[in-house]
Symmetry: C2
Subunit: 314 residues, 2 copies
């Protein structure tokens, strides 16, 4: 198989079947795609009851899900959807190899920066594509995912312009009823997402478990949010990813209508789950510092969050 | 009376008889000075049992304490020791006037910046002197104060070189067994104290209720502590208060031997009491910004603490 292309009916493997993996993999399976899930805690429940996707009043039950206990049971696949929490990335070193053939594409839907690099370093850059999910998903029980509001899945190549396979992957998602689009520059998209995630996910934790509305209503934190956004845009620019400063106002406007929305990192933090500190704050900070970008606030937020979310922290 | 001087046996009034007021006023009373305390919650207990000062194994009980329910019962005094929490400063507008005669000296032993200015603005700058307490005191019960370790009381004039009265006040404290000294430049001393208080009191709260040892053992927070100290020194320099950068290493060394010490603001925070956010972070930040000093980290810490310690906070 030409690694630049995709077979007409590709075999999908989903590694990390939490909310993101369960939802996107589930939609593909619902629409007749050949999808195989690596499951851990939810394996028995999904084998028995299938996957359930809830969007508002609509409830979809997907029966006969291919749920497996090991990637060696799945075997070589055409597209591997990587939806593991970034804090478990090291597990991928063992999970991925059984899924590979020469043309296998690795699609990471994980948060923040550094995930494409991680996969490229271990399994070859030519395999790697990435996607950004602008969507709110919550795993509410074993094999049950709730989906709030609409959101786009933005897919692009790692360090390359889109290839035929990229368009093919986007099309498969579109055919499964998912709003997907091709992006020319994946890493710029990741930085654009960080413009929002760095301040809101971070301050929602560091300022004492507060919502987006709380942050924006507080004069000091509102200013700090804008200043953090400007730092992220400045760092992105240094790294060759141009984002206009007018993006700040757009993001603030978008956030003002969200109300008492809890960013995903705060939900993790409040539930006592690990927070993706390195991919959202640590890696952007390291890349910015390497390029000499001025990221004083990002650094301070990263240092605080690292401690607040550590085992040593409360 | 000449306001530059003090009568041989001055009448002292103590406003705010918590740990600081109880301890310093108590020592003066113990050594035969004419001291009058304004008391609220502790009034009945102190009238019945007097004041108790504990330092290690030494326990001193001071009987027949002049405890009053109102400053109008105390009347005009020669030295008013102001030891109220800075968050209650507005109360002073009503508490102070009954204590004044033409030569009354107001000695604020309060934390941070802005207290001398507050008193000067309302009662005349010529009355105001200030003191810094480098001591660890804890009110452990009604009328009972515990004193840990030694520490100096540094006293100076507000916006003036020392006067005869300043030396006289220092001498009264020394005669009461307190290690007191005269400082030439009071506000420089306040900035020196902030070099420590800004990072340690602040980060101990913002990083999740942690001690001085925890802060210094964490690589990121250790760096942040030094960077905050440099910002405070830079701001002080802009305001005409020279502190050498070598002071940072001195303060770090001093702190490394403190062990799991909890800064006073953290003790307040953990106990659910108000934290002196404005005098320790707000006022230094405002003064620095007014002079164009670069205080990005101080600003961020101030904004976070303001929210964390607000009623709206957790």
């Amino acid at each position: 198989m030409n690694p630049r292309d995709l077979p007409p009916n590709p075999k999908f493997a989903v590694v990390g079947a939490g909310a993101i993996g369960g939802y996107y993999g589930g939609r593909l399976a619902q629409h007749g795609r050949d999808v195989h899930f690596l499951m851990r805690g939810d394996l028995a429940a999904v084998r028995k009851n299938g996957l359930t996707l809830r969007s508002g009043d609509e409830v979809v039950r997907i029966e006969n899900v291919n749920a497996h206990a090991a990637t060696s049971d799945i075997g070589p696949s055409d597209v591997v959807i990587v939806a593991l929490k970034t804090t478990s990335n090291l597990d991928l070193e063992k999970l991925i190899p059984p899924l590979l053939h020469d043309g296998t594409v690795l699609l990471t839907l994980q948060n923040g920066l550094g995930n494409e690099e991680f996969l490229a370093g271990r399994f070859g850059a030519e395999r790697v594509i990435g996607g950004l999910c602008f969507v709110c998903l919550n795993r509410v029980g074993p094999g049950v995912v709730e989906h709030y509001g609409h959101g786009t899945l933005s897919i692009g190549e790692f360090e390359r312009a889109p290839l035929p396979r990229t368009r093919a992957v986007v099309r498969k998602f579109q055919q499964a009823g998912i709003e997907a689009r091709l992006v020319e520059d994946l890493i710029t998209e990741r930085w654009r997402k960080l413009v929002w995630n760095v301040p809101f996910n971070g301050l929602s934790i560091a300022a004492g478990s507060i919502t987006v509305a709380d942050i924006l209503a507080d004069e000091g934190l509102h200013k700090l949010t804008r200043d953090l956004m400007a730092e992220v845009i400045g760092a992105a620019a240094r790294l060759g990813h141009a984002i206009p400063m007018s993006f700040i106002d757009e993001q603030i406007q978008r956030s003002l209508v969200m109300g008492p929305y809890k960013p995903s990192s705060l939900i993790d933090y409040d539930a006592g789950r690990t927070v993706e500190v390195e991919s959202i704050w640590g890696e952007p900070w390291r890349q910015a510092v390497r390029e000499g970008a001025e990221v004083t606030r990002l650094e301070m937020l990263y240092f605080l969050l690292k401690r607040l979310t550590s085992d040593a922290g409360s």
